[in-house]
């Protein structure tokens, strides 16, 4: 392995150990989305007419929320590194110190795979019935990972920029907000027109619709055929574009903050 690969693998291992042992943030990332899923399904779901069983409609959105919660933990972990002594030590070593950020991103991806599996499990237990074949599943997981990846880099950027753990955790609030103003929980058509404009064009909507289309194609809000392909392309472009933007900004800010 090259030195860079060793650094990246070592720091990813570190990131995973830190994530696994951060019990609070693990609980937030796995339990909270489940609670929200149950609430939406049993409390609000009855009153919301989305043209299909509510759990079928809402599960993809909950999965995206999960990614948001997970990202808050990443922002806090990065903030802690920046304000502690670790980054200084790494910078005084023959290590590409920026790989410490990559370590956090890898850890976040793995963590999200786990928490997402938990949420899927609970959703399946209360009536979520995906009709997807293996290829569709692969596609859905791929799109979700791209989304998590982009969100995580935005969290890393926040972690590098803020100067306090509180500010880093405040990030959850913002990321949590995005899926609500999308087609995640109610069809966009039910929103006032000014908000609809935002909801239709923000990145969360194509991601959710693509996941819906792949997992439960044919249900309301789940595009099929060409519409699905177009939506998927849009989702991928958004996720990759945002990831490049946030990763670039985070790396830039990281190099400058001393």
């Amino acid at each position: 392995m090259t030195a860079l690969a060793i650094d990246a693998v070592t720091l990813a291992g570190r990131g995973l150990r830190l994530v696994r042992r951060d019990v609070d943030s693990m609980i937030t990332a796995a339990v909270l989305p489940v609670v929200i899923l149950l609430m939406f399904t049993y409390v609000f779901g009855g009153a919301l007419d989305v043209g299909t069983s509510y759990v079928t409609y809402a599960t993809p959105g909950i999965i995206l929320l999960t990614a948001g919660f997970g990202a808050a933990g990443t922002a806090m972990a990065v903030e802690q590194d920046m304000s502690g002594g670790m980054i200084d030590r790494l910078r005084s070593m023959p290590v590409a110190a920026g790989t410490v950020l990559v370590g956090h991103v890898v850890a976040s991806l793995v963590k999200n795979l786990l928490t997402t599996a938990v949420v899927f499990g609970v959703a399946a237990a209360i009536g979520f019935r995906p009709t997807a074949g293996p290829l569709e599943w692969l596609g859905a997981v791929g799109v979700l990972l791209l989304f998590v990846h982009a969100i995580t880099w935005s969290a890393v950027l926040v972690g590098v920029l803020v100067r306090s753990p509180d500010a880093a955790s405040g990030f959850t609030f913002f990321v949590m907000f995005l899926p609500y103003v999308s087609s995640a929980f109610v069809p966009v058509a039910t929103m006032p027109s000014w908000m609809r404009g935002f909801a239709e064009h923000q990145p969360v909507t194509p991601v959710i619709e693509t996941v819906r289309g792949l997992l439960v194609g044919g249900t309301p809000g789940a595009p099929q055929g060409d519409a699905l392909a177009d939506g998927a392309l849009l989702a991928v472009v958004w996720c990759v574009g945002l990831a490049v933007l946030f990763a670039g900004a985070a790396t830039w800010a990281f190099a400058r903050r001393r």
């Binding site: 030195a3 070592t10 291992g13 005084s92 001393r258």
Partner: protein, 342 residues
Amino acid sequence: MNRTQADRGRDVVVQAVGLRKAYGRGRERLPVLDGVDLTLHRGEVLALLGPNGAGKTTTVRILSTLVAPDAGRATVAGFDLVRDAARVRERISLTGQQVAIDLKQTGRENLWMMARLAHLPRRAARARADELLEAFDLTAAAGRQVGTYSGGMRRRLDLAAGLVTRPEVMFLDEPTTGLDPRSRQAMWEVVRDVVAQGTSLFLTTQYLEEADQLADRVALIDGGRVAAEGAPAELKRRVGQVRLELELATTDDAGRVAAALGVPVPEGGADARTVRVATDGTLAGVRELLAGVERTGVAPRRWDLRTPTLDDVFLTLTGHAARTEPRPGTGEPTRHTEEVAA
């Protein structure tokens, strides 16, 4: 390659000339270093001594390649700090003022990670981690998360993490601040061992005693410059050893006692009733001084025997008091206060 400058200066491992650094811009601009010159010889321990905010950490951060100086030049382990930063990093280790270990990893995991980042092969990294745990008396706690360690244990682990490869130059920024006297002693032992194995040490401290215990040479930093430099014994000679302090009831009494002891009459202000006189620190010497006081017929309210503090060093060597924010355990005098019956 680039070993020119330091090679000519034979055994010099750190050479800094005219380092300058200011933080902030415009009216907020705060000059921190204003032309710092420092030399560290191979195998030597240099202590950079100064109060809070003097620029100790800034100097260490510059010399360990974390920040670039605004002006000035430095070579570390034979390489130019700015042009050859990567080579410098292969030869130094930094243990900063803030502990740089993960509380949620175990002691062993922390050391293993550092060894891997220093590019030791897996097996060698594991062996080195165990070796260091043993050397730093942490083997029993090796499998516990660092969050459960005491402050002293964390500091020891932190130091161990800086030693996964044997560095040519080690930078230690206030390694014992916040430790109790016993942990401090233990830390000094560890540091002496490291130096005995051939590492040159650049240390910062606020404690005169620490510099005295560890350093071959002390550099006193003040106003962004090195105000005084020399062997600890030499600096102490310039400062004086132990002082007798007498607090009198009135300024008149103070004047009479001062005259009897042959020291200047204290000037006005809050201290006008306190007489200070240098002693050789022996029982006989102190007894003689006290006898002199007794002969004046004046009864002091209190007396103290003080060893020089960082403040005294500053007062003597720079002509003004150190602007040290009081910190628990910083340069406290050794007190032998007794109320003298009136």
